[in-house]
């Protein structure tokens, strides 16, 4: 699959490109709006990652012109603004998702994948990580065949970690998915919940599944996995 990145900050473009390339996508980078439109005309893309602060044209202008050419392609916006107003404007102008700088590349990859699938994370009813079973229909969790009782927040946290199986999710990402943006910056709440979740899911068992990646976040993965 092919992704077009329209971003004038070379380092940001390269960083995002590297992250997406590592996931097996083919990447094209344009550093101006005009170049981006020309590239979009020349080839078919499955996703466009667009920085709104382009040097040669207004991001929303680019969005509208791109939509005329490619009505279907999903667009993920990167913005240094985070005014509620511009969020609404972006989505109305035809963006499918948006991210505010600074963002974690990991989160961008998660969102890009969701857009490429054209829908929310896969709807597998039962997810398995080692001997942990998460039944998203019944909202039940079992480990080694034993029922584990979780509060709704703990369940939501575990399910979010499981849906990003073996990928590191940042505390900010967890915050936005499990809580909401009013809690922005209150990342210690994530740590507290993770600790409680570990007490139920990991502590009674020899194999620890919830890992901490210091400064980055958490991931749910089998022992021995990279």
């Amino acid at each position: 699959m092919r992704i077009l990145i329209v971003e004038d900050e070379r380092k940001v473009a390269e960083m995002v490109g590297r992250g997406l390339r590592a996931e097996g996508y083919q990447i094209d980078i344009s550093d101006t709006g005009e170049a981006g439109l020309a590239t979009a005309d020349a080839s078919e893309f499955d996703l466009v990652v667009l920085d709104l602060g382009l040097p040669d044209m207004d991001g929303l202008e680019f969005l509208k012109r791109l939509r005329i050419r490619r009505a279907e392609v999903p667009i993920l916006i990167l913005t240094a603004r985070d005014a509620t107003k511009s969020k609404v404007e972006n989505l109305e102008a035809g963006a499918d998702d948006y991210m505010t700088k600074p963002f974690a590349v990991g989160e961008l990859i998660v969102r890009a994948k969701a857009l490429l699938r054209r829908g929310p994370a896969n709807h597998t009813q039962v997810r398995r990580v080692a001997d942990l079973e998460i039944d998203s229909l019944r909202k039940q969790v079992k480990r080694a065949g034993l029922r584990i009782e979780l509060t709704p927040k703990e369940y939501a946290l575990l399910e979010y970690l499981a849906s990003n199986h073996s990928r590191v999710v940042s505390r900010t990402m967890i915050m936005e998915h499990v809580w909401d943006q009013s809690f922005e910056g209150l990342t210690n709440i994530v740590d507290v919940y993770v600790r409680h979740l570990r007490a139920k899911v990991d502590d009674p068992f020899p194999e620890k599944l919830i890992r901490t990646v210091r400064g980055v976040g958490y991931r749910l993965t089998e022992e021995g996995a990279a």
Binding site: V12, T84, W179, R214, V216
Partner: protein
Amino acid sequence: MNTRSIRFRLAAWHAAFSAGIFVVLAGLLFVQVRAYLETTLFETQARRARQIAETLVAQLPKGGEAYLGRQIETLYAPELGDRFIRVTGPDGSVIYRSGPPADGSFDPARVGSLHDGGSVKPTRIDTLSDGSKLLIASFGASPGGRGTYWVEVGTSGEPVDQLVSRLLILLGLGLPVVALAASGGGYLLVRKALAPVEEIAGKAEVITQHNLNERLPVPRTSDELERLSIALNHMITRLDVAFGNSKRFVADASHELRTPLTIVQGELEALAKDTATPPEFREQLGSLLEEVERLARIVQQLFALSRLDAGEANADSDVFDLSALVVGTADQMALLAEDKGITVSKDAQGPVFVEGDRSRLKQVIVNLLDNAIKYTEPGGSVSLRTEIKGGLAILEVSDTGAGIPAEAIPHVFERFYRVRGDRGTSDTGAGLGLAIVKSICGAHGGKVEVKSIVGNGSLFRVSLPLSEKTNPDSTAPF
């Protein structure tokens, strides 16, 4: 009445000045009228004295002294005309003296002699021993070279005294009237002239950093007040520009910091996740990432504050129940308190509807509750209360924590302010949380106050205007 006010002082000066001028003019008038009346009377007496001297005294050698007396009686009837006439011979003997006047205003016998005080004066005022006053004119004649005969004609000075004393009374009565009229009129005049000052002052009072786009009223009077208000408006414009520049600076700075932060965070994350990175480096990278996160948070908060300053808070405005939001938010944060062994109690006195940006007001609750939990020792308690009081929606967050020292209280809502000796071990905040709370409350037309006793705890009270639409359903179509 403020005796230091320009209005009062101008009116008082005006009254004093008017009264002073009145007194001077009245004095001059009094002296002039008196002098005029006396001169006129003297002239009349002098004319008569001369008449008698030239006609009757001239006939003295022919007719004799008795004849003179009779002639005077016949022609001038001094007693009936309340007049004094005396003719003195060259040897000083009185040839004729009129009798007591009909009105008894003076006693002719008490009139001093002609030569009192040396030479004969053409006019004099003779104060009699009984106190009555006589205005006397003298005229000399020398018929047939027999020496000088003096004719004195006088009249009572009382009518003049009466007239001038009546004038004095009149002027005396006029003084308070003039003073009163001058002060009253002056006061009204000054008040009218200074009315725009009141208006300008009233408007200037309500201009703060949040409504610097407003201007003072300019009275179109082409006077000093118009100039003053224009000058003040220019000053407000300069302030507006300066404030705007500083706000824009914060917004621009936080905006410009985002891209480099993204790059730093992204590259560090890539290294931290890279399995080729030695574990000891990963620790350090993690520490760096934590600081980047903190930096990003400050940038984010500064940006949020600059947006609130720009008045963009209520982009998403709806009517909702503050009590429900408080209860819901507290539930979401319950584990945070539980983990620290702090009990959180909620006391919601029924629905409290407010209108505003729900996620921003939720941030107010989150920040206050987070602070309360942060500064309360394990085993303490935090309570949340919502109620309607005095037509306002009230939210109170109180704790049994460390409290805030009195000297720090006026500053807790300032940006980057931190209470000295603040032992926030896990606190990575920059001291912007309460500034954001204040800005959000302000943007919603409300306010936040704090009361605290060191060692006993703190109480934060948010008051917001109640929504006019008490039921959110009423805004929905049927």
